[in-house]
């Protein structure tokens, strides 16, 4: 056991059992999986992505590139979980990933033997040919070999939340700078949200042995937390990562229940916070970074700051004999902490020739061996057993089982880049510091390159005061008189040139120093090219550890400075985010709202089969008796309408009430045809164009009174048309007196069609005389009463192409109307029909719908050219563009198979008989097809060059995708009742 006998922020009274790769271990509450593994002497935890090299734990945070495991099992198994952030709970199970047959013996480690061939761009260069082998052989092979973990293929049993929050100040990070900012702003009464990725507030104060105003750092954290949590205007979110900055909005992920075996009943697993913050202080700290030397990826080599965290915070010693290799003062502090906790520190190797006398004295007092101006060129052992130290021209092998490395710190400035801010190089600390952060954000503490504890506290408080001053809120900065002074000196050092073995830059993607040399040699010198050629920084850790050393090595090779070489830019998310959290409630059937028509219950009683039509659930067909297939039901429904009467729920149409003096003029401008001349009591078909001249929507508008009109839109475009009309009324023509009201929800609407339609309506309408053919001819409209006094609107219209009426009643009366019509029509065998039957009949009648109104067709294409009036209307000018009036543009026509036994397919293309089926010979395409029970053969609508001028011609309808080639005859698109006798009957 490597658990230290005392210390640490773990609860030794709460032991927790867990398994890793099937073996049982125990840890304590307060442990992470990583710290518990270290405490149990488990050093080999993973195999690397490409070479399958043995890997250990490198960090103590979310930047971990190596210790990725499959966490949990069954439906909750989650691959690539970082052991360093997974909180230990009783019964936790984890497995290593990307190894076979076992972690200790991985057959794929043979890849290392081929390493000389596996350099940068290996795949691009090697698997180029034969082309056919890519899909069948190379890709599956590579995917098997270079994998990450396995996702559970079971449905996710957990629930995710998306939450909105609003605040004056968002503080990101609860280390000393963040705590000072939050306390300052909280005391001022501002609305504050404080988020931290960790499950404990405090950041570095949880690890470092420091004093603030004479108290221990941890006491400062405890007192501050108590005060913050008592403030009603301040919300503390732990286990919460702010991962992205968007427009005025910060996105953060709270891991609500990831520290539990499973969420409590109804508790979400994770919560996605969308935080609308007027101001933000980024106090995300800084990350220690690796040095590139031979074997720097061996289990046992970790970052110095992480080693200190394991020793101090988790009381888990990562090694029994430790060496420290660094270029900065902070790592000395880590070495002292390890020594003071009882770990043997065999050597402290610093690349610098000189360090401050204070540090040297502290090392001497502890009896530590210090090697100045030294380097480690190689590390040895499957798990670390020895290191080669180069100093003063000599190489010395030293037996150690742990190595803490530190190349200095990189500020966690990722979020400052999310609005395109470019980091700025600071030579003094050998790191990039924030450039221009997103509007409203300021940066404090280590994230700003200020590493001194006192500076962190002061900067955090000052940033909060400044941010609140912008908002007109007066705040008094938290004052700190004294804080422990630790050395912050650093001297840039990146790469040990003497390394004889593989020296890793990007641990997660297995990118070595040699790969960067190769990339440079092959001309990929720009940072962006380097990244893509070698995959450096492209793993799930986004290069948090690797970008800087990679950039520095490229700079050294090319003889340029680091800022000349490039910069690192970060994009959201800071850490990976589960898709489930982004979806929240909107998954499965709740992906989007489902809309139900007022007649839904009635249709269900009638045995309807429903289909999703946009957000709506609509009756598709109504199977009866022994009907086994949908087409049997549809054929029956079509015949029932054509021979008797049928009814359909058309409540989904958009319905817009228009009132005002100028509605006629308004409609003349939005429709291509004239409406101002429409008489009261009449309805007219209209076509609307977009500004670009293409058709937007069609529908009918009725005039109910001189200044009252009601428009019907297609189901699909209901919202879009309303929005368009509002835009026209508010922005384009504010001088017109027009008031628009959507009444789509208020009215249920039922269409009845067929030769007996009038007979049925006559029994439901209060005054049957008003629907005589003379009194109420085709295209009439009226407000009336049905079912004994129920307010109704009746329109004489038919999409089915038969004698037909549409009856609108208040939505709550919709089902009663349907029942009344069913009862009234019983003697005519009235038949409910669905969307499929409507689709058949509209093709028979040549009515266009979404298939034809697809946003790429013009009025001319659709055969409505003559409808357009002389005067102006929206889209008129653009519809006159030469390409749109080209006589060779495919125009609407009807099609039927020459052999009545052939079926037609939408999507088939028209080719002249005898011509080859090539793009050059393409004459157009079929948009809608059906089998017509009325005609006893298939019918189609489509667009063909020449349109109806080709009536009588024979063409091939070729469908190479599905292997169809049918001889068709071009027809009038109106197959059924072309003279409209039945409509007017």
């Amino acid at each position: 056991m490597s658990r230290l006998a005392q210390g640490g922020l773990i609860d030794r009274a709460k032991p927790l059992q867990f398994t890793f790769d099937g073996k049982r271990y125990s840890g304590f509450a307060g442990d992470t999986l990583a710290s518990a593994l270290i405490a149990n002497d488990v050093r080999l935890v993973a195999r690397s992505f490409k070479y399958h090299r043995p890997r250990g734990i490198v960090t103590a945070g979310s930047e971990e590139p190596n210790a990725l495991v499959e966490l949990r099992d069954g439906a909750r198994r989650e691959p690539n979980s970082r052991a360093t952030t997974a909180e230990l709970y009783d019964g936790l199970t984890a497995e290593s990933q990307n190894r076979w047959p076992s972690l200790a013996f991985d057959a794929m480690a043979v890849n290392q033997l081929f390493a000389p061939f596996f350099g940068a761009a290996f795949y691009y260069k090697t698997f180029m040919w034969p082309k056919a082998a890519w899909e069948k052989l190379y890709e599956p092979m590579i995917r098997r070999a270079a994998g990450l973990g396995r996702a559970s293929e079971l449905p996710d049993p957990d629930h995710y939340d998306k939450v909105q929050a609003h605040c004056d100040l968002l503080v990101i990070g609860a280390g000393p700078a963040g705590l000072a900012a939050a306390l300052t702003a909280g005391r001022a009464g501002a609305r504050v949200i404080l988020v931290d990725e960790d499950f404990r507030l405090g950041g570095r104060l949880n690890t470092e042995n420091v004093e603030i105003d004479g108290s221990a750092g941890l006491d400062f954290v405890a007192a501050t937390e108590a005060e913050l949590r008592a403030l009603p205007n301040l919300r503390v979110l732990t286990r919460t990562t702010a991962f992205g900055v968007y427009d005025d909005t910060y996105a953060a992920l709270e891991r609500v229940a990831d520290h539990l075996a499973e969420p409590a009943p109804y508790q979400p697993r994770q919560r996605l916070w969308r935080i609308n913050a007027r101001r933000a202080v980024l106090a995300a700290g800084a990350l220690d970074r690796p040095i590139v030397f031979g074997g720097n990826d061996r289990p046992g080599v970790m970052l110095a700051a992480a080693m200190e965290t394991y020793v101090s915070r988790f009381a888990a010693a990562p090694a029994s004999r430790l060496a420290v290799f660094a270029n900065n003062d902070a790592a000395w502090g880590s070495a002292f902490a390890a020594h003071d906790a009882g770990v043997t520190v065999s050597a402290l190797i610093d690349t610098r020739a000189d360090v401050s006398p204070v540090l040297a004295a502290k090392a001497k007092a502890r009896g530590l061996r210090v090697v100045l101006g030294g380097r480690i060129c190689d590390a040895h052992g499957k798990a670390l057993t020895a290191i080669d130290i180069v100093a003063g021209g000599r190489t010395e092998r030293l037996a150690v089982d742990g190595l803490a490395m530190s190349g200095g710190f990189s500020p966690n400035l990722q979020l400052t880049c999310h609005h395109n801010g470019k980091p700025v190089w600071n030579d003094d600390i050998a790191a990039f510091v924030p450039g221009t952060p997103p509007p409203g954000m300021s940066v404090a503490g280590a994230a700003n390159g200020s590493y001194d504890l006192g500076d962190c506290l002061r900067e955090g408080a000052a940033r909060a005061v400044g941010a609140l001053a912008d908002l007109g809120i007066a705040a008094t900065a938290l004052t700190v008189a004294t804080a422990t002074l630790n050395g912050t000196a650093v001297s840039a050092f990146w790469h040990v040139a003497e390394a004889r073995t593989k020296a890793f830059v990007d641990f997660q993607n297995d990118v070595c120093a040699s790969d960067i040399v190769l990339a440079e040699k092959e001309g990929f010198r720009s940072v962006e090219h380097l990244k893509r050629y070698t995959t450096l920084g492209m793993a799930t850790d986004q290069g948090k550890l690797s970008n800087m050393p990679g950039l520095a090595i490229m700079a050294a090779i090319t003889g340029k400075s680091i800022p000349e070489t490039g910069t690192t830019v970060f994009r959201p998310p800071y850490t990976p985010v589960a898709i489930g959290a982004l979806a929240g409630h909107h998954r499965g059937k709740d992906f989007r709202p489902t809309r139900l028509t007022p007649l839904h219950g009635w249709a269900r009683e009638q045995g309807a089969v429903f289909i999703e039509a946009g957000p709506w659930l609509r009756a598709q067909y109504f199977p009866r008796g022994a009907e086994k297939t949908w087409d049997q039901a549809v054929n029956r429904e079509v015949r029932a309408v054509r021979e008797g009467v049928g009814l359909i729920d058309v409540s989904t149409f958009g319905k817009i009430d228009l009132r005002g003096r100028d509605v006629g003029a308004f409609l003349d401008r939005v429709y291509i045809n004239t409406f101002s001349t429409l008489a009261v009591g009449k309805t007219r078909y209209g076509l609307m164009l977009r500004e670009d001249g293409f058709v937007m929507d069609d529908g009918t508008t009725a005039r109910l009174a001189p200044d009252r009109w009601v428009m019907t839109t297609t189901t699909a475009n209901a919202a879009k048309v309303f929005q368009h009309l509002e835009f026209c009324a508010q922005v384009l023509w504010p001088e017109l007196d027009v008031q628009l009201t959507s009444v789509s929800e208020q009215w249920a609407q039922v269409a009845i069609a067929g030769p007996r339609a009038r007979d049925v309506l006559a029994r439901v309408i209060d005054d049957p005389a008003t629907i005589d053919n003379g009194a109420f001819p085709y295209m009439s409209a009226m407000e009336t009463r049905v079912m004994g006094g129920v307010r109704a609107r009746v329109f004489r219209l038919s999409f089915a192409g038969d004698l037909g009426f549409e009856i609108a009643v208040p939505a709550r009366q919709g089902e009663a109307l349907a029942r009344a019509l069913m009862q009234a029509g019983a003697e005519f065998d009235i038949t409910p029909y669905g969307l499929e039957t409507l689709g058949v009949m509209r093709i028979e009648k040549g009515h266009v719908t979404t298939n034809e109104l697809n946003g790429q067709t013009t009025a001319l294409d659709l055969g409505f050219g003559k409808m357009a009036k002389k005067g102006d209307f929206i889209g008129k000018v653009m519809a006159g563009r030469p390409g749109l009036v080209d006589p060779d543009r495919p125009r609407l026509a009807g099609f039927k198979p020459v052999d009545p036994n052939d079926r037609l397919r939408a999507g088939a293309h028209f080719i002249a008989v005898g011509a080859a089926a090539t793009t050059e010979n393409d004459l157009g395409w079929m948009t809608s097809t059906t089998w017509s029970p009325t005609f006893g053969h298939a019918l189609g609508l489509g667009f063909v060059k020449g349109g109806t001028a080709r009536i009588g011609e024979r063409l091939r309808a070729v469908d190479p995708l599905r292997g169809g080639d049918v001889l068709v005859e071009v027809c009038n698109p109106v197959f059924f009742d072309p003279e409209g006798v039945r409509l007017r009957g």
């Binding site: 109804y266 709740d590 007022p598 939505a811």
Partner: protein
């Protein structure tokens, strides 16, 4: 197993039954009650006629309404500002047609009035955790002083267009939803309120 997904067993076309859903807390943290017996009408002013509409409503009903996103409630009538010169008028009576006709007569040519009693459903939302639940469905700020009793908003609730207004300090809210989308809105609130205990009442 977590029981978060009770909605997955209920098709969106099947109305959620009245009663308790979600966590078995002593009292439901979130309550949703469908209000019956209401008449609802939309009022859209003619160009520049909003002051005339305000004057007409005051003359006819003794209620001073404002052309802002606020609700003004009197005895027998409340008007919710839903847009410049636009209101939703709500009254505790079940003759929507006559209610709308009466309003139309009062405002005359100054506005168009449409009976929407069948088009909208109004819910009362309450409970100790209602703000937390609404934060999962709405993007607007519901904390005072941004939103206080009398405040109203036309906004989106889990992709459903709604009108929301605050009744009192508790807080209690009224939520107006299009009839075709009431189940979608109910499901969204049931999911949001599940962890606090959710109670649905259908009068």
């Amino acid at each position: 197993m977590a029981k978060a997904h009770f909605l997955e067993g209920i098709d969106p076309s099947t109305p959620l039954a009245a009663g308790r859903w979600g966590a078995a807390t002593a009292t439901a943290g979130v309550t949703m009650r469908r209000l019956g017996g209401l008449s609802i009408a939309s009022i859209v002013s003619a160009k520049g006629a909003a002051p005339a509409v305000i004057a007409a409503i005051e003359a006819a009903h003794g209620l001073a309404i404002v052309d802002r996103p606020e609700v003004c409630a009197g005895t027998g009538l409340c008007c919710v500002g839903t847009g410049p010169g636009k209101w939703l008028a709500v009254a505790p009576r079940d003759d929507g047609e006559a209610f709308a006709d009466g309003l139309a007569a009062a405002v005359g040519a100054a506005a168009s009035v449409n009976d929407q009693s069948d088009g909208f459903v109004i819910f009362e939302l309450a409970g100790a955790r209602i703000r937390a639940a609404l934060a999962k469905c709405l993007s607007i700020d519901l904390d005072p002083p941004a939103f206080v009793p009398g405040s109203a908003a036309a906004t989106l609730l889990a992709l459903v267009g709604v009108t929301l207004w605050q009744i009192d300090e508790a807080p209690v809210y009224h939520l107006c939803v299009g009839r075709s989308l009431t189940e979608a809105a109910t499901r969204a609130l049931a999911a949001a309120g599940a962890e606090y205990g959710f109670e649905l009442t259908l009068d």
